[in-house]
């Protein structure tokens, strides 16, 4: 099947209650925020969300186009992530104690992992593996409750692979066959999520005719891409608006004084 070009709402409607959904989130860089907004408007419930970072934005930034994952909370029963934000100490005064309330009341389950383990669990899922033995996090919270094994005198932790039902991906450009290229460090874990997930929905800034992308530079081949969604140019999640948000971000990060 070649990629189906459709609206975000139509693509998101393939997500069923209870599905495992994987997505990349790294501030506003490589995060499929346009799809987040469509998922937030959908009726899907009880999702397990595999998300690279869960980073709530400072108050007011969601309205400016920041892909704030808290908009998905009403649809999610469990979050698996290496980085659960909400209590930044220091540089950015983010607080979101409602996350703590959700966790304490048992309404939201969480599982912690590391960035390297997270992407390798996806990679293992993509390769059809059940899991792997990892040396990362021995003796820490990451090892809690997991099988361990000594290999050549070193201790390893068993890490289960991840094979999500649906992947939500962001790429810069696609051709009509679904071949994807990314921009800068927005590539992140998008390619491995695409390889691991059974169905992929991809948002892009631009869709071009086959042949317009240099085949040497295609990162994710179209075979992985099921649904292609073009972000409307003037949308709050669009490149133009994010450029403005980036300026806001620089001021917010308070890099003043850095020469």
């Amino acid at each position: 099947m070649t990629a189906k070009i459709c609206s975000a709402a139509e693509a998101i409607s393939v997500i069923k209650d209870g599905d495992h959904v994987a997505t990349y989130m790294w501030s506003m860089c490589g995060t499929p925020g346009y799809l987040y907004r469509a998922l937030a408007a959908s009726s899907a419930t009880d999702l397990t969300l595999y998300i690279e970072n869960f980073l709530p934005g400072p108050p007011g930034t969601m309205e400016l186009g920041y892909p704030d994952p808290t908009m998905l909370l009403a649809h999610v029963k469990k979050i698996v992530t290496p980085f659960l934000g909400g209590r930044f100490v220091g540089r950015i005064g983010i607080t979101s104690d409602f996350m703590g309330d959700l966790i304490h009341s048992g309404k939201l389950e969480t599982e912690v992992t590391t960035h390297g383990v997270f992407v390798e669990r996806l990679h293992a899922g993509a390769m059809g593996l059940g899991g792997f033995y990892s040396p990362i996090g021995v003796g820490t919270i990451v090892a809690a409750g997991k099988e361990t094994r000594v290999i050549d005198g070193k201790e390893y932790i068993f890490e289960k692979s991840i094979r999500p039902d649906v992947g939500l991906i962001k790429a810069a450009r696609a051709d009509k066959l679904g071949n994807l290229v990314y921009h800068g460090s927005a590539r992140g874990a998008n390619p491995v999520i695409a390889m691991a997930s059974k169905v992929n929905i991809v948002e892009v800034d631009e869709i071009v005719e086959p042949g317009k992308l240099d085949p040497e530079l295609i990162v994710t081949p179209g075979i992985y891409v099921d649904y292609l969604v073009k972000i409307p140019e003037d949308d709050i999640s669009g490149a133009k608006n994010l450029k403005e948000l980036a300026k806001f971000g620089v001021a917010l990060m308070n890099t003043k004084g850095v020469k």
């Binding site: 659960l84 540089r91 990451v142 460090s185 620089v250 890099t255 020469k259």
Partner: protein, 221 residues
Amino acid sequence: MKERLDETVMAMRAARELKPGDYCNLGIGLPQMCASYVPDGAYVQAENGVIGYGPLVTTDNVDEADVGLIDAGGQFYTPAPGMSFFDMVTSFAMIRSGRLISILGGLQVSENGDLAIHSTSEADEYPQVGGSMDLAWGAKRVIVAMTHSTKDGKPKLVKKLTYPLTAAKCVDLIVTDVAVIEVTSGGLVLKEFAPGWTVDEIKSLTEARLSVAADVKVMEL
């Protein structure tokens, strides 16, 4: 109270550890700032998939901020010749390869080089592990850049960690706002102290046993 080094100066001092030919991952927080002070011929890596990037964008060149050029902690960086992008499977294979130096932040470091960075209590709802465990395990040299004391004045260089362990016996050097300290098989060794400070003053802020290098000197800024 005596003046401590600010974050910019700490980042400059930590970045000075890098030599031409070095590749170094920069962690979240203060280490991100090191990108602006890397010596010629050394290259920095961000875990989300870039190596060889340039100085951070500041409010002076905000128009250069590109939403695709963000480092590990969400700061915007400028592109540099020879920079390359890759996905995060490649990035973490690189991080675990032993080819990178790592500059990390820290909450506590113990006498034997154990590191706590991801949370302050086992009961923490938001353990923020990120890539710290991968970096601490995989880097060929781990430099921790952090303040010497907590905001309420408690020592962060401790005999044994009281915060949850991130990685055991991984730290090689600690750059604080008053000192540079090496982690050796014999414990922590004071190598440098900030201008205006004395060895005894540094010791009084340090819970861990701290020996003093024969060639201890004032930090050159």
